[in-house]
Subunit: 270 residues, 2 copies
């Protein structure tokens, strides 16, 4: 089986940078699906079927599954199985806890759910990340600067040395990256910060949420990475792809949107 | 049904301050339990049976259940049901995500798992907390200064105005507390910081992990709160209570330890 690093590197070489966010929200499903026994899995399955050849991979935000209770967790497992071990799967669970607890979370994500990558909160520091780093063939995207408006509250707090807190997090993530299994989350909505920090990313893969529904520009982001000769970026789009239509053509429309996004990536690579 | 605030206030009035952390780790169970069909639930049940009359409530760290897969989630539900709606239950899941996702996490914790209180990461700012605050009869303990050694990495980062990041978080939590449904997590291992900040806690309930296995002193903490005429504190002990013995008397020993801790609370209240 390929490591997370190999999967990512192969995808980037093939100009695949778009991660499809599978954040199921039944209120946005076509009515015809709702009569299905497991409408969430059915929805995911149809999206996966038409995007598998085009997408870099899938990001599953655990919140949307946990909100459906036990059945949601079953659906999460079924979806991960359906994507299969050739796919690249980010378990977007944003975990973070003290050492002995973080071990349990890492075990859950990598051994039970068998995802390729996690997302992690940095607030509690290195202890909370270390157990994840023991999995050398996996990837861990640490939150640096997120796409939401209140990223300003703490992430952009100014430190005594004049830098932002998120910049201190970025420096630490590079220190944690001994096994080349760290990455960062950087909101695509934070364009000017992206521009002023991209030279400090080193070879960390960068997961960029916030394109589409949240207002980030794919074109700007791709051009910036390209100008900086950095090919290590994953652009996530959830609502912008999977809820393009809430009629029976939702999967077809999702594929068309992903084709459009892939074209846009190619056009903006210089 | 009583609100989380009422449950907590009743417990404090009865001098109940100890929260039993139900963090099941099979490697520490007595051998005789391991043959049980659901040994984790059986373990929790026996602990609950002998601590129900003495404990303030229970803190369930979701990591330990998620690491057991679907079965673990079933056990989590069964344990919460067994504690029942008269008990006070903290769903220690340390969640934190952007607005529309945080809504799903809040729904999961308060409507699906039906716990009384959450624990939340502050890193992403107010957006990530707001959906939890809509639940006015629940409580949300935001991580301020945690009990682990690497709290120093970011929580103790020094800001431009000379204060620590965690102190900025504390100020914000007070702003978020319009419905009196916020609390804070402050490590019992961080005694000198506790001492220098206790006057800024206002009427926020304070959840203190880190007593026992992690090295925090219950006596010191109780005396400090008492000296400051602050009765709003919850002391969590997990390993120190539930793994007192790994023989068949584990429940009996857990009860004895809780009795001892309760006595110690009373002795150190001035």
């Amino acid at each position: 089986m390929k490591t997370a690093q190999q999967k990512l590197s192969n995808a980037f070489s093939a100009n695949k940078h778009i991660c499809v966010g599978l954040d199921p929200d039944k209120s946005k499903f076509p009515k015809s699906l709702l009569s299905s026994k497991d409408s969430v899995f059915q929805f995911n399955k149809e999206i996966i079927d038409v995007t598998r050849d085009l997408a870099l991979g899938y990001k599953l935000n655990f919140a949307f599954y946990e909100a459906e209770g036990l059945k949601g967790i079953e659906t999460l497992h079924k979806t991960i199985d359906y994507i299969g071990s050739d796919g690249f799967i980010i378990g977007d669970a944003k975990r973070g806890d003290i050492g002995n607890t973080a071990e349990q979370y890492a075990d859950s994500l990598f051994n039970i759910f068998k995802v390729d990558a996690s997302t992690l909160h940095p607030y509690m520091g290195s202890d909370s990340v270390t157990p994840f780093l023991q999995f050398q063939d996996k990837l861990n995207f640490v939150l640096v600067l997120t796409s939401n408006p209140s990223a300003i509250d703490f992430e952009k707090a100014i430190l005594q040395n004049g830098s932002f807190l998120y910049q201190k997090v970025l420096v630490e993530v590079k220190n944690w990256n001994k096994f080349s299994n760290c990455g960062i989350v950087f909101g695509a909505t934070q364009y000017s910060e992206l521009e002023s920090n991209i030279n400090s990313f080193g070879d960390l893969p960068v997961l960029l949420p916030g394109v589409g529904a949240q207002g980030g520009s794919l074109e700007d982001v791709v051009r910036l990475f390209s100008l900086n000769r950095n090919n290590n970026f994953l652009i996530n789009s959830s609502r912008g792809i999977i809820y393009r239509s809430n009629e029976n053509d939702f999967a077809e429309q999702a594929r068309l949107e992903l084709l459009r996004l892939n074209d846009s990536v190619l056009e903006n690579k210089i």
